[in-house]
Symmetry: C2
Subunit: 142 residues, 2 copies
Amino acid sequence: MNKFQLDSRLAADSFLIGHFELCELRLINDSRWPWLVLVPKIAGAEEIHETSPDQQAQIANETAITAKALKQMMGCEKINSAAIGNIVRQLHIHVIARNENDTNWPGPVWGFGKSQPYDNDKKALVINQIQKALSASPQFSL
Amino acid sequence: MNKFQLDSRLAADSFLIGHFELCELRLINDSRWPWLVLVPKIAGAEEIHETSPDQQAQIANETAITAKALKQMMGCEKINSAAIGNIVRQLHIHVIARNENDTNWPGPVWGFGKSQPYDNDKKALVINQIQKALSASPQFSL
């Protein structure tokens, strides 16, 4: 059985925030939106429905914990969550905080315009905020 | 407690395929992609993470059954699934079959171009195919 290894494009486009039991939690390097991805540490996984029932339940649970923390932290209008993977096939679940005055509202974030990388201070601040918002969850660790 | 009632825009933009235990399954009236939505019959629900843990597990399960049936039926390259709801706030989960030669691949389907309504024959054919693909699932009924 192959060992899980993070896709090189996901690694290049995002920063590690921490770990759930099953998923790595990462921040997409695009400061236009607070945009997280969960990457289940399952070698070869591409579709949620092709993982085991236990893994599906765990993915749903970790996604909900992330969505709840992000919504509380940002006070945002809406959470957008999705598993798309048309380009990067390694299974990853997007969780994004959306607001009525954000870039491309109410359209989707995927495929829109050009990403705006974080500067170091802002990146550290956002990662720290998310780590704090999740610190009460026993399933999350740094 | 309010009774669940399908949002009028979802009703106008889609056709009923059948019912799971928790969700209504509908076909979006856009023939560019085989595009399904699951609508949990929970009054007032807007975010998956705000439903109960049992409901979250049920949504995940019914979404996976739908995705699996759609992928097998279409032989498609990728399933795209998402809960967005920036416009229609009633909770609904998109499940879409994508292929490398389809409209806007590998970009997302949401917010892209103008929908192309089904003609009656094609609509009946697609609904019938999906009903057949799900007929083996004890959780699905017409």
